[in-house]
């Protein structure tokens, strides 16, 4: 099943996508819901960020090639994480399918994409095993963890490097019933494939993260977990279009616009 959130012209609503049609739903994917009689073509629907998470988790460095690449850039030895420590991103930075990534004037040219699998939590969970973890997942969507690398290296925290307004595209929709071990990610920058990887090459997988996080924190419906990216990343220029494609989910697409 394919869940979206969209602008009805009269406020946001959840919807279910059936072929090329969006069926408006009363309720949410996290509780009771029913389909309404209201439908509209997907092509003319203004999609919104598919969920506004209560807490926005991000695995950060979680793929061996990306860790190695980032360490080489800093002239350091790669240091693979030994535990599934999780980080955070911020709500203000979220934008939806086809909304622009707006880069502030004072950013350097080192503004880069990171194409990632996003896990959407469906049910409250605390202290779950790895075997149980996927029972608490509603489904999967796609994220682009846009990062200004000079700020990432120089600031004390990741606030503006990762959380400047528009730096967290997420969408276009949430797909249920899929196996995270099957996902293949491709990142396409203005028509050129600039990276691809299998989600199952992560250092810590979805089950490990959820189980480990739930030892200390209650995950609640709508929380999202961004799983990190693999490989090298490149700068994005004004006018570029960046697409993150994940098999069986779809393609998240955003243009890049530098503030004038």
């Amino acid at each position: 099943m394919k869940w979206c959130r969209f602008d009805t012209g009269n406020g946001p609503s959840y919807g279910i996508i059936e072929g090329d049609t969006v069926v408006q739903v009363e309720g949410t994917p996290f509780g009771d819901y029913s389909k309404t009689e209201r439908t509209q073509p997907l092509g003319s629907t203004k999609l919104l960020v598919p969920v506004i998470p209560p807490t926005f988790y991000a695995a950060g460095i979680n793929y061996p090639e990306h860790v190695t690449w980032a360490a080489n850039m800093r002239g350091e030895e790669p240091n693979l994480p030994t535990k599934a420590d999780v980080g955070y991103r911020a709500i203000n930075a979220l934008v939806a399918q086809d909304e622009p990534i707006v880069v502030p004037k004072d950013a350097t040219e080192q503004v880069q994409y990171e194409g990632e699998l996003v896990v959407v939590i469906g049910k409250e969970c605390r202290n779950v095993t790895q075997d149980e973890a996927l029972d608490y997942v509603l489904g999967y969507t796609i994220g682009n963890d846009v990062s200004e690398r000079t700020w990432q290296r120089g600031d004390r925290t990741l606030w503006r490097a990762k959380n400047t307004d528009t730096f967290k595209p997420m969408g276009p929709w949430i797909v249920t019933g899929l196996n995270p071990d099957d996902f293949h990610v491709r990142i396409i920058l203005s028509g050129r494939v600039v990276g691809e990887y299998d989600v199952k090459s992560a250092i810590f997988g979805v089950r490990e993260y959820i189980s480990e996080m739930s030892r200390y924190m209650t995950l609640v419906p709508g929380d999202v977990l961004w799983m990190g990216t693999d490989g090298a990343t490149e700068n994005m220029k004004d006018g570029d279009v960046v697409e993150v494609e994940i098999s069986d989910i779809g393609t998240l697409r955003n243009a890049v616009a530098w503030e004038k």
Copy 2:
């Protein structure tokens, strides 16, 4: 004016505290509201976390004595921050007045309080000057940034060190119309004053943080900014009661319970 959020027995509601009475309100402090005829004694009211923030910001290290103390603990030279870089905390960890801080079994004895001023944003703001910043503040409340110091030093991020469930007491209410330069903070551990400081001794004040953050991110109604703590902190033991008192706001009080 003193705003609270409380359990009506039939879901949460905002209320206005007048003397010893809570007046239930329709609406929220962030938009239109009206007082209802429903009132109840403050003493028998179950107070909730006064706001669930869309984004939960924390200044982190922001007072000179605390920076110096923390550096000395690590055997390092103190390194004062040169910019108002902001960090994040997580919703799952919030608890209200009189709710216990529950320490996981695998924590060390180094679980410590950090008593802090909390700024509550009242209006959407982006790109505001320091002179304008306080116009976007609804009011102030109190936070206790409970921290497990071994996890804080050893983990890659602050996830469980700072954001284990119950590690972020906030409340008891939000007070409007006050000047942040006037606040004096005292931390009381089981009846003993263990720390006190003036909020105006912060390295970066409320106006500087809001102005700097708003250069990159849109702050929205209900966002909170925890301003950091000053001075040394001590371990809390099972059965301790920790109180954070801020002049003209009130006292945030929570017991400490170690998981058996």
